[in-house]
Each structure stands twice: as C-alpha cells, then as structure tokens.
Symmetry: C2
Subunit: 247 residues, 2 copies
C-alpha cells in the first residue's frame, strides 16, 4: 500500500469550495478524485487539510490518499495535471508514511488575504483581490492585529454551523501580519487551525479598524463576548488564499 501527499494550487472562482457537496456542484476535491479515476481507473478517498469555501483560492492546499497500486509520484502528478482543468494544478506529489493524514497531522496553516486599497476596482486583478475604496489606516490595523495573537476562544469569529457544535472553539494564532505593498494590503495569518469563516471574520473586523469604524478595545470585547453576532461582516471570499500547511 502507498500513501501519497498532494500539494495543490487552485483558483477558487469557479468552484463551490474544496469539499465534495451535492451532485453537480463543482469542487476541487471532486475534480481531483474524478481525474484520478479517469486516468487510473481507481476511486480514491482524498483527504484535504481542511475545507476552503466557495471562491477561496489556494497556493498550497495539501491532501493525501491511499492506494494499493504503487506508482512513481511524478507519473501521478503529470497524469492528473494533463486531465484537470486549468484552474487546478497539482504542484507536487510525494510518497509519505502510511500514517500521514492531511487533516489530523496539520500543525499550522497560513492564509493570506489580499486587499486592493484604491478608489476604483481593478479589472486585471478583480478575481484575486478584494477592493476597498476608502483609504485604510494600516498602522491601526497592525496594532489591532495583535489582539488576535495567542491562544484565544474564537467563538465570536465563527459561524454557528452544525460541524462546530459541541467542539472547542479555542485556537492558537501564532502570527498575524498586516503589510502594505503599494496599493495592496496583505494580511497573513498563521494558526494551529481555523474555525469556519474565522479568517474572513477577523479580516472583516480589521478592515473596520482600518476605516476607523472599530477600535482595538472593541475587538477585545468581541473576543470576550464569545458571540458571533458581536463581530462584523465577513470579508469577501475572493481575496482569500490558503498559502501553506505545515506538518
């Protein structure tokens, strides 16, 4: 038996997210499983490091699958890439220990949110950045970002979907950086794991801080309240990238 680890880049624009949903919904997981079946006549169970929502991109999503048939990793990569549509690319295939599990073995994940902070939208960058017209105060955002770093109960920053019920909402954020690069603002966040919509809810509040509509002390209050309704509006999906997963 062999266990293969895939590192995957995708443009989330035309996907209903990572995870296979109902029939007819195009998902990244579904496309890869189908491509593998088409090429190798074998139905694999593909385990992702976690879900990404509709419209969210990935530069380094990780997944694994077991198979009875031992194949050179390079052959798997090339065959999948030749079959997949051009909005998904398998960057690497590695043979890993049988015990490796892309979800449970993940130690840290890093997401990047890209804001295009200028008055008008950009046609050439409209799929990969969220445009905000009002000039954001990046220094205020940097300062407020510190409130999220550490081990916190992020209950206020998730949506009450069924998969969360009864589970711990405590996560450790190792790093949260806000950097201006010309007209772009990059928000990079690394944690041991993320709750459903956690990144976009945090970014949504940081944008409000940048607009002067929310203070750092309000963020601390929202964290204390542990109530989703206390947080603001989630930032849009198309500015978000799963950058990497560390094992």
């Amino acid at each position: 038996m062999a266990n293969y680890k895939l590192t995957i880049e995708y443009d989330g624009t035309n996907f209903k997210g990572w995870q296979v949903q109902g029939k007819g919904e195009r998902t990244v997981q579904g496309e890869i499983v189908q491509a593998y079946q088409k090429v190798f006549r074998e139905k694999i169970k593909l385990i992702g490091s976690g879900r990404t929502d509709t419209g969210v991109h990935a530069l380094g999503q990780v997944a694994n699958f077991h198979t009875e048939i031992d194949r050179p990793p390079e052959d798997i990569r090339n065959a999948l890439n030749a079959t997949l549509a051009d909005d998904v690319v398998i960057l690497r295939v590695n043979r890993v220990a049988d015990s490796f599990h892309a979800q449970y073995a993940a130690k840290r994940k890093t997401y990047r949110y890209i804001i295009l902070n200028r008055e008008l939208p950009s046609p050439t960058r409209r799929w990969g950045m969220a445009q905000i017209s009002s000039a954001l105060d990046v220094e205020a955002m940097k300062s407020a970002a510190k409130a999220f770093v550490g081990t916190r109960d992020f209950k206020s920053f998730t949506s009450n979907n069924r998969s969360n019920q009864g589970k711990s909402t405590t996560r450790t954020v190792y790093d949260l950086r806000v950097v201006r690069r010309g007209a772009q603002i990059h928000i990079d966040i690394t944690a041991d794991g993320f709750l459903y919509k956690m990144v976009r809810n945090i970014v949504g509040l940081l944008i409000e801080v940048g607009q002067g509509r929310c203070s750092k002390s309000h963020i601390l209050k929202v964290l204390r309240d542990k109530d989703r309704r206390a947080a603001g509006v989630a930032a849009k999906a198309h500015g978000l990238y799963l950058l990497k997963v560390k094992y």
Copy 2:
C-alpha cells in the same frame, strides 16, 4: 466644445483588442463608445493612443474624445464605470486642450511583459502571466536587452500587415529592463512608439536568449537583416500590459 482624456485599465482576456473591428466583435473602444451613447445619448469618436491586440491588457491606456456638451469629468467617469462591464474601468477623466490627440501627441509608451518562470502553470495567475517551464537565464536576457536600446530599424520585429506598408519602421527604444521578482520575470520596455507585434516579437527573442537558444550576436544580426522571418516566435498576448502613455 470640450475635449476629454480618459485613462483606462482593462483585462484583455475577453476582448478582441482595443480597436473596433467587424460587427459582433467585443472591443474595448467599442464598449466605451457604446457605454457613452447609452448614458449620454451621444455618439463619440474615441481616439486611442494606439491599438492593443486580442488578449493584451492595459493598466494605463489613454484615449480622448470631443463633445459639444460640457460635463464634469467626475460625472463622465462615474457614469461610464456604472455602465461598463467589470473588465474595463475608467481610472481618470481629465478635460484637456482641444488640440490634444491621444495618438499623435503620445511621446512615449511603456509596456510590461510578465513571465511566470516555473515548471508548472499557475491557476491563480493564468490570465495575467505567460508561464515558461524552462529556467531562464535572466543575466543573459539583461545583457541581450541592451541590443534593442537606441534608434533602430525594427522591421525584423513587426508583422507585415497592411497598415505598416510604406511607413517608417524606425523607432527609438529608451529603456528595456529585465527584472526577476521571485518566480516572475518582468520585462519593461519604453519607446517613442511600437510597430505591430514589436513588443511580443522582442520578448519572444529574449525568451530564446534566456533559454540559451539565441545569442546577443544573433539579435544584432536579426536587427541588421530587416526581415521578419529572421526573428523568432512572438510571445503570447496574455502576458502583455500597456502600462502607461506619456505626453
């Protein structure tokens, strides 16, 4: 009478270039003229700084038009942007002297070509960069680029289309820079004007230099030969951006 100058950004992916062609072809010029007519009930003659080909993008294309009706530039900008599809944005509208002509008054134009130099294509950047798998020798490209700077007859670097016949093929290239930025290579070229397909033909040859398939002395020979067949294959349109036009 008023003369208005527009600065325009567009994603060339779904356009048959700038210039109005036959009926039914979607062009940037055509879309702007239609949008203006829809909003202001007036058919303008829109003069671009020059054409861009199918698939070529622009961050700063410039155009102008005359009209009998004096309107605040801001109103024109906002009305056009509210009407245009999201792959064209009017960045600025300025009232200019009646004599201003976007094509004839252009002194310099700068184009950027973006190469993604990595083994595999990138799904998230597939519309805006041309991916080249083989590792390019950027130092060799930088050195070869110098051969193009100055006043030269670029006849070898254009295609023999009808609009060129009998016209001078001499142009002055002021600057040609090749810069590596991580996995990307940016080629910025500034000249007093460009012949049809000139940028893409120059970039095509520079890519061959980077691949070790062409030398600087070969470039000098191609320039001397003044024969289109001597140059290589034009680089693909989707990596090319009209950055700015200077007046």
